[in-house]
Point group: C2
Amino acid sequence: MLTRPDVAVVGAGPVGLAIAWRCAARGLRVVVHDPAPGSGASRVAAGMLAPVAEAYFGERELTGLLTESAARWPGFAAELAGVAELAGAAELAGAAGAGFGYRTDGTLVVGLTGDDLAEARRLWSYQQGLGLPITALRPSQLRDREPALTPRLRGGAVAPGDHQVDPRRLVTALRVAAERAGVTLVPGAVTRLADLVAPVVVVAAGCGAAALTGLPVRPVKGQVLRLRAPGHRPPDFRHVIRGYADGESVYLVPRDNGEVVVGATVEERADTEVTAGAVLRLLRAAVDLVPELAEYELVEAVAGLRPGTPDNAPILGPLPDRPDVLAATGHHRHGIVLTPVTADLITELIVTGRPDPLLTPFTADRFAAPAGPRSGSTAGGVGRDRETANEGETCD
Amino acid sequence: MLTRPDVAVVGAGPVGLAIAWRCAARGLRVVVHDPAPGSGASRVAAGMLAPVAEAYFGERELTGLLTESAARWPGFAAELAGVAELAGAAELAGAAGAGFGYRTDGTLVVGLTGDDLAEARRLWSYQQGLGLPITALRPSQLRDREPALTPRLRGGAVAPGDHQVDPRRLVTALRVAAERAGVTLVPGAVTRLADLVAPVVVVAAGCGAAALTGLPVRPVKGQVLRLRAPGHRPPDFRHVIRGYADGESVYLVPRDNGEVVVGATVEERADTEVTAGAVLRLLRAAVDLVPELAEYELVEAVAGLRPGTPDNAPILGPLPDRPDVLAATGHHRHGIVLTPVTADLITELIVTGRPDPLLTPFTADRFAAPAGPRSGSTAGGVGRDRETANEGETCD
């Protein structure tokens, strides 16, 4: 790029790449900086597009954003698949979005024991109360849909609108789309924002955002397994399965290529070691729910760091003291599902200068501590400041 | 090597390398053929030198050979450590044999539940009946020796003479010793014995021996995990622990470098896939016995193929129809402990032409089927022909 860019994006994960693609499509000159695109949280993510099953008590605003973004996913996926096909990326072609594993088979929520079912039901009753589409099913109905489920199941529910995508292939597709739209990728690390010359900077660096911006983004470790069906056949089930098994929460995400992602731990740690205990708990819960998985090959065990915030909702918009620097980070467990809405809202803000009302609960200034004693929340904040951020902690 | 060798060895695992070393030390010109030294069963092996805990019902001759070889291990290790140090192999130096992880801390046999203890006790009573050194201990005595053991243990025993070595480092040390003694390593695969020009050929190719010789050697799959203590400190226990946990048999081998080997499955399969079910069973039993292992890093999960025979005892000596071809294979679970005695006996046979009486139960002709209906055993056979060999099956 010979001329100064209009927008510099730090981070070539799904969020950074999608923002770059959208901005370039609006005629802006965009450069994306990342020493290793797609090597952050997305490399480990399962890719569930699950606004319903991810709707937790006390996270009403976040649930709204999840639902909004999930609703944008079909259009986002179709557009991305079209661009990628046009670009002649053979490996991305195939039936509607299959190139990045976009699938709409829906999600089953299941409980193994009576206690597990009570836990699951408590949550889906809350979700139903929010008007979200989730319907209780008897064990026989669950096994009619997925005969691979253990006969020991006590019950569950179906969330037909909770879908999935393959995050690693999504990053590949977004790179193709971004580069085709004219985005320049620079394979280097950014250690200081002052080194960037663009009039607008977007920090989409996951938990690396903490060191760059001082925002309270902390690493939240997640361990994930990848299994593969024998003989590389497709897995024995098509729905995403979110289960509670003897008190352990686990999800099983089947892919067309035979892979099943089993995840994930949620640990307040900053290392990326795979531990025996985590692998044991994930495998035990997985095999308890779908016994056939015992015969699957264990092809990968890996840990990654999600960017968490004090209220575990993302930070979207300008830094309090730097209106030219926009944060798009803190997506925690929801980076993949939130990619379309994040890209749309940040792009719109850059192009028009006007923030969409959807951004209001997620501004960076909700964490700004006023002088004097720390208050519970600030104007525009969501008032769910449940834990103190380790502000000095970063991914590394 | 410009002149024709006296001995050609096929296979640079511990057995092949030790035979080559011993033969070269007796003045013979030796060449060893292997495309990938140390890449067979030894790469996966735990390296327990356990004649007592490996003494099973109906394997009296094998137990005799195990005991004989274990008795030779201290001398073998001292000699090997001396050679390796002389050779200036810095990574092999250190306190007596530490260079290949030779340790004499002994083995604890433990049972988690009452049923597990009954199973373990049945076996060690048999071992005691053979005069082998194994002594029952109460749970408190076990935990006095290894406080890392779970308080749930119902009981166990100690076999002070069952030691360990690190097979991967053993291969390195044996290569140094063999090369220093003048052995030539040729990095190529041997597919036909006719391609070898030496007057004596030793087939120490693990389960690759089947294709080369027609001997009934079949692959027996074993899956093994390697864990590492947090912060690379030594593991929380020093004994080898062989446990029975809710019906699952497992061993835990601690190494000075912080590693703990957890093994092993015994599967009549010829693939080397790591399966979710095997990892689950190994981890569950390991963590049941030593809860602290849950915090350990899972650094490797790997599968290998042991060379099994119809009676699971090794095949040592000339092929029935080829007196110039000596088999040294079929060591199944016992290749590491049997390395010294195998090397001594095969070398002595090559140098003197006279077979040691110790070889008698392990000759290749015990599997030769006479014309007509198959008989139970043949002259010199051990009469424990428990299963049919898959003669066509090889490692690959």
